[in-house]
Amino acid sequence: SEELFIASYKQIAHNFQEMFRRLFGGGKAELTLVDPDNVLESGIDILAQPPGKKLTHLSLLSGGERSMTAVALLFATYQVKPSPFCVLDEIDAALDDRNIGYFLSVLDEFAMKSQFIIITHNKHTVMGSQTLLGVTQMEPGVSSMVSYKIGNVAGEDVILNDDQE
């Protein structure tokens, strides 16, 4: 129904501005309806302004800035309707280490109320997690679970699997 959509849209739009500022450490972002007279079909435009820069269309931002903006939108939506669990598959692919840090600090808050399962190749994301689950294929084409731990090799945190300890 139209009122229900508009109510949740406005709430998400409000959260989005705040979540963007938190993830970017400043700047601003807004959502706008492409066609305000046709709420039930209108597309939604995203305008974003990383700190110090100009307000531009999403398509002009960098790969990592776009990912962070999408994450801000996702979290803004979760605030309106939290889910007891979330599965995020390689959401950090385009992010540099610093942005992964900001992402994880926001994720920590959400993780107090919801379970998060994050598929990642990034060591920083792994370091920011409470639990590690490992998958591998010892025999080609046959998946099995492997237990990973965070160990310490030559003063450096590394991810070890069972047979490496």
């Binding site: 597309g43 379970q115 190749h121």
Partner: protein
């Protein structure tokens, strides 16, 4: 805690029965390319009632059954079981723990179980309706899906808002 454990048997790259245990907070799922991480995401969506073969990265539904390797014959059945904690009463049932299981045969037949009782697909899907969980658009973000939010077509992003409404 919401998700407690997942068991895969004959699903995609899991010809041998594999179990994994979930934990609270943030869990990182890692492993090399092609080892089965996104297949685990597909399994969670599938057991919750996902019917779109496209979003499961399959042609027809039977494609999720293990189709063999150089050393192994294809299997005839795929099954996935998910055990969920219901202590916070997210689900409209009295049981403190709920197990859902889905099975598909190469003949195309499917079976669905709720706490060992045979049920219909719609019973499984209705169970999650209010939690927002079952709607994979919302709490499960597949690999590359973040680009749909960023997509140059503003209409493509509506799914986020509609799910939260």
């Amino acid at each position: 805690m919401f998700l407690k454990s997942l068991e895969l048997y004959g699903f995609k790259s899991f010809p041998d029965k594999v179990s994994l245990e979930f934990a609270d907070g943030i869990t990182s799922l890692l492993g090399p390319n092609g080892c089965g991480k996104s297949n685990i995401v597909d399994a969670i969506k599938w057991v919750l009632g996902e019917q779109s073969t496209k979003t499961l990265r399959a042609g027809k539904m039977e494609d999720v059954i293990f189709n063999g390797t150089d050393n192994r014959k294809p299997l005839q059945v795929a099954e996935v079981s998910l055990v969920i904690s219901n202590e916070e009463h997210h689900l409209p049932l009295d049981d403190p723990e709920v197990e859902i299981k889905r099975r598909i045969f190469r003949t195309g037949e499917s079976e669905y179980y709720l706490n060992k009782n045979r049920v219909l697909l719609k019973n499984i899907r209705e169970l999650f309706f209010d939690t927002g969980v079952g709607k994979s658009a919302y709490s499960i973000l597949e690999q590359g899906k973040i680009d749909q939010i960023l997509s140059s077509k503003p209409e493509d992003r509506r799914f986020i808002f509609e799910e939260a409404a």
